[in-house]
């Protein structure tokens, strides 16, 4: 059984984590239609997506870069997510195996 200090820490961290998840949803009620914030949120997803991919590639190295390029190329050619994911992850695993050697 975890001690009380561990439980308190986990509980507070869980509370903080959930506050962030639910906070944006609740706070959006206060954002006016047509406001800068509303437009920002409409434009944000694509920019966040590419930033997410770039950071992930930097963190995980060349195998991730190769995997993402292969996944994007496969998606562009086939339009099938499952094919893009399979090719991308296989390429990353192969690159990792070769680079680790």
């Amino acid at each position: 059984m975890p001690d009380w200090r561990t439980l308190i820490a986990i509980g507070l961290l869980g509370l903080a984590s959930y506050a962030m998840r639910a906070g944006g949803f609740l706070a959006a009620d206060a954002i006016r239609e047509g406001s800068i914030a509303a437009r920002f949120l409409r434009l944000a997803p694509g920019n966040l997506f590419v930033a997410f991919v770039a950071a992930a590639c930097l963190e995980n190295g060349w195998p991730s870069v190769i995997g993402c390029i292969c996944a994007l190329a496969t998606m562009a050619v086939t339009g099938k997510e499952w094919a893009a994911l399979s090719v991308g992850c296989s390429a990353a695993a192969l690159a990792a195996a070769l680079l680790i050697r």
Binding site: S17, A51, G67, M75
Partner: protein, 241 residues
């Protein structure tokens, strides 16, 4: 009067919560059982190394349910945990969920809060990405968000427990391939966000800033700040989605 951020110049969908969408999201996110499971295994191994018990390790992943926040607070853990500092770190690393939550309000703001707030507990980067893309294809359905979130949570929580019991060495080719899955999934969604040549500069700036922030500050802030800069450029140019 404050209003919800639903644009009037876009097609209006009535948000729903359906079993069909739940199933569609669940099936689409099944690969995340493996990728989140692998990441969870690494976290479980790390928690064991800290001297936490199995119950505490699993509880951590169940209650906090955030790889970035857990990784950051893991580095701060001592015999007498600095709880206040850890909470601040948790808020900082999870601040991106504020943007995601506000964006989801555009899609599901008309659903009852008592329905949406429990679902928000399982919100993850990848489930938000998938839900955003699915809403563009099929209309907003919170069933998809819930369905896509469940396999991710199962993988993460079960992986933590498994990692605690089975100490495995991370860093091998399979672990790297599994770690790529979230990014690869996002890559497959990029075509849905492409708006032609006007996308080039904002995306270029998003990538550049994300790389700089990831290198200089840390990967936790890269998506939020990088994407924020790119979005700001889009706004200054007068773009709209």
């Amino acid at each position: 009067m404050p209003m919800a951020i639903i644009s009037t110049d876009r097609p209006m969908f009535k948000p729903a919560l359906t079993r069909v969408a739940f199933r569609r999201g669940f099936v689409a996110a099944l690969p995340f059982i493996v990728s989140n499971g692998m990441a969870g295994v690494v976290m479980g191994v790390a928690y064991k190394g800290l001297g936490l018990g199995l119950a505490a390790a699993v509880l951590f992943s169940l209650v906090v349910y955030s790889a970035t926040a857990q990784a950051v607070t893991l580095g701060m853990w001592t015999l007498s945990p600095p709880v206040a500092a850890m909470v601040v770190a948790c808020i900082a690393t999870n601040a991106r969920y504020l943007v995601m939550g506000a964006h989801l309000h555009q899609l599901f703001g008309r659903l009852r809060r008592r329905v949406m707030l429990p679902i928000m507990f399982l919100l993850a980067d990848a489930s938000w990405v998938m839900t955003t893309a699915d809403a563009e294809r099929n209309g907003p359905d919170a069933g998809y968000l819930l369905g896509a979130s469940v396999p991710m949570a199962i993988g993460w929580i079960a992986g933590t427990g498994l990692g605690y019991e089975l100490p495995l060495k991370p860093g091998g080719p399979l672990a790297i391939a599994a770690a790529l899955l979230p990014a690869a999934f996002v890559v497959t969604l990029l075509p849905t966000q492409w708006r032609g040549r006007k996308t080039v500069w904002p995306w270029g700036l998003s990538v550049t800033v994300a790389l700089l922030i990831s290198r200089l500050v840390g990967p936790n802030w890269a998506m939020l700040i990088g994407g924020g800069f790119g979005t700001a450029i889009s706004m200054l140019r007068g773009d709209d989605a």
